[in-house]
Symmetry: C2
DNA sequence: ACAACCTACAACCATAAGGTTGTAGTTTGA
DNA sequence: TCAAACTACAACCTTATGGTTGTAGGTTGT
């Protein structure tokens, strides 16, 4: 079960496809927050928020560090940038750059 | 049922969370393709591919135009850019710009 | 006219996703 | 020490998702 980049892309976009998770991500990008502090901001159970945090963590969009009995989550901006990079590649396809790269590669046997 | 920007974000990220759909999007960003031409490229039924195309269309990532009995799909690069813009906003949060904007807004009553 | 092609969509199935409640393990502060 | 706080996770329910097959409606070329 190789961890392909498509697997990673699946996880990243899927993690971002829920508005609660995007909101959590905004908060933890702005600064560290404990899971219960995050949970206080939403009209759902603690367990539900904890699951959302787990999804974001598995996708690599946030990481947690223990501080006493609290688990402090902070957002990983590099993961956000990696998603932006995937979109840039789509734009490149649109511009037809792939064709040019293929031509360049074909020129140097 | 107002069509909020969060609804739109949900649909966009969800549409992008499937690798087959990302691949279809790549193809239609590179150029127009009929639904059956797209379907020929995947190891699944025509109906399955047609559903993926419909998901991308509902999210606004591609549009179709009729040409005789064919339906030609082409990718919308602006929709891709709008997703990139959402990620840029997340990066802005990370840089703490929101706080500065709040300060500026607070300064002009 | 009509067979072949392209598309749309309904009905169905298995599994994943998002929510709930409940239980249990750590850590803290009095 | 021990109750309260913080977290993790299992079990369960409902709905969404991604796939299938089957049916039916336009278009085309002969």
């Amino acid at each position: 079960m190789a961890e392909t980049s498509e697997d990673r892309a699946d996880a990243l976009f899927q993690a971002l496809s829920d508005r609660t998770r995007r909101d959590i991500l905004r908060r933890v990008l702005a600064g560290e927050h404990s899971v219960s502090a995050l949970a206080a901001g939403y009209d759902m159970s603690f367990a539900a928020v904890q699951k959302h945090v787990a999804v974001l963590e598995r996708a690599g969009l946030l990481s947690k560090r223990r501080s006493g009995r609290e688990q402090l989550a902070s957002g990983d901006v590099q993961a956000v940038r990696s998603v932006a990079a995937m979109l840039d590649e789509l734009e490149d396809v649109w511009r037809g750059r792939i064709d040019r790269i293929d031509l360049l590669l074909a020129e140097e046997p």
